[in-house]
């Protein structure tokens, strides 16, 4: 069966050092991870500050939504074609994947902050915390699970998409897919797809563990981890808490 053959292909130690005179699994994996890592780091550098700013101040939300939607519509293949036509190096590729990673992380960061019970933040401010202290000591720890959720989304997305650079002669696990396609070798191609998927899921699992650890104790676990929902007693019907300064 195709799938089993592909697993065998992956387990063949020779394929780890060389595949058809080209870089083997080890090298492609390394390059794939490196490129993904760069993209994730830059994604975080761009999306986190913006997301935290939007989440903390509530400003610029509409703008971010529009930008994120437009960015999401940009076909990676097209953008890679344009940028690599101009300069065939890693930086433009990283740029494209950063663009891919920004929407989920941005959303995670700002949704994480928004999901925090307004009263908690309000009370913190009323106690005399500075804005920076509120961000550091209240919002970041409480939003950590959702922020990491966003990071997981971005990472998954980036690792799966980096395969595209193989079209343009940059190393990635996509080489096995393209090579398999060109040689009519479905086993190799399936093996490439499995490698990418497994890599993405492994990294995702790692981040999931991190997310577990980052979930503050005392905050109910589970999706959303929304502190906005912990109140249990009937609360008089009132206008949404919109005060704030």
């Amino acid at each position: 069966m195709l799938f089993l053959q592909a697993i065998q292909w992956i387990l063949d130690p020779e394929h780890w050092s060389e595949v058809n005179f080209q870089a083997g699994i080890a090298e492609e994996l390394g390059d794939h991870l490196w490129l993904s890592f760069l993209a994730v780091v830059f994604t975080a550098a761009v999306a986190l500050p913006i997301g935290l700013y939007i989440g903390h101040t509530g400003r610029g939300r509409g703008f971010a939504i529009v930008v994120a939607n437009v960015v999401r519509a940009v076909p990676t293949l097209g953008l890679l074609s344009v940028l690599l036509l101009v300069s065939l190096t890693i930086p433009p590729a990283v740029f494209v994947f950063v663009l891919l990673g920004v929407p989920p992380l941005l959303a995670g960061a700002y949704a994480g902050l928004e999901a925090i019970d307004r009263q908690t933040i309000d009370a913190s401010r009323a106690m005399g915390m500075t804005e920076w202290q509120i961000l550091r000591r209240v919002e970041l720890p409480l939003a950590a699970p959702l922020i990491l959720g966003g990071l997981r989304g971005a990472t998954l997305q980036i690792i799966a998409s980096v395969t595209l650079v193989s079209n343009f002669g940059i190393n990635s696990l996509g080489d096995f897919i393209l090579g398999g396609l060109a040689a009519n070798d479905y086993v190799q191609m399936t093996a490439g797809a499995i490698l990418v998927t497994v890599l993405a899921l492994l990294v995702d699992g790692l981040l999931a563990v991190l997310q577990r650890f980052a979930t503050p104790r005392g905050v109910p676990r589970g999706r959303g981890a929304s502190t906005a929902r912990v109140r249990r007693l009937p609360v008089p019907n009132r206008a949404p808490v919109s005060e704030g300064n």
Binding site: R72, A73, G153, L156, A160, T163, N167, G174, A193
Partner: protein
């Protein structure tokens, strides 16, 4: 620019081909995801399994999926249905999560009170849960439509006509104008779909119009699913 004017017919036909690839994927993706999402919202176990499965499907690289679909299903290689099926897989992978969230977002109070009024099971689903899940479902469909349109460009890599052809061809010929034409066409098409779906939603959900249009748009941004920027 003159290249664009002289190739309007080509742009148009590629756009139509692109639409023909995407629309069935979006529509079927919705139709498949709603029951799955409903199931996931009802059972924690199903939710875990379905969402994990979605994540796995979602990480399969696009080219691999487009090529492997005909191998696995035994379809002709150049059949556009291959691409549509691959797009459908991604659409479901994304949409199941938002459908699950959509149904989970239906207030338990409203559900309980509807049951207490004497809604039977199917009546509850069709008249209460589905419409109330509507805004979040709509947000999910918008994400799916945009990403499907963007993703469908990979069809070009396997010789199936789509707007992606402008990328591969333009690249081979070092022809920026052509690639950018393709990019703009994809973006415009995505925008048209987004607006159209938004309008359909507005028409179908009048109660949602005043208070929550912006929050539904926000939800489309907030859904922390991995988005398919197009692979």
């Amino acid at each position: 620019m003159s290249w664009v004017w002289s190739h309007l017919d080509l742009i148009w036909s590629s756009t139509l081909a692109h639409v023909a690839l995407c629309v069935p994927a979006i529509v079927l993706g919705f139709a498949v995801s709603v029951p799955l999402g409903y199931w996931a919202s009802r059972s924690a176990g199903a939710r875990g399994v379905l969402l994990t499965l979605g994540n796995i499907l979602y990480t399969i690289p696009g080219i691999a999926l487009v090529v492997l679909v005909p191998v696995v299903l035994g379809l002709p290689i150049l059949n556009p249905v291959n691409v549509t099926i691959a797009l459908l897989v991604y659409a479901v992978a994304i949409m199941v999560r938002s459908a699950a969230d959509a149904f989970a977002s239906v207030s338990a109070d409203v559900r309980g009170s509807a049951r207490a009024q004497g809604f039977s099971g199917p009546q509850l689903f069709w008249r209460v849960e589905l419409p109330l899940a509507g805004p979040v479902l709509l947000a999910g469909v918008r994400v799916v439509s945009v990403s499907t349109i963007s993703l469908a460009t990979v069809a070009a890599l396997v010789g199936i006509p789509s707007l992606g052809g402008f990328f591969t061809d333009g690249f081979q010929r070092s022809f920026l104008t052509e690639i950018i034409t393709g990019l703009v066409a994809v973006l415009l098409l995505a925008a048209v779909f987004d607006v159209a779906i938004g309008l359909i939603g507005r028409a179908l959900m009048p109660w949602n119009r005043r208070q929550r249009l912006s929050s539904a748009a926000a939800a489309s941004f907030t859904i922390p699913v991995p988005q398919t920027g197009g692979r």
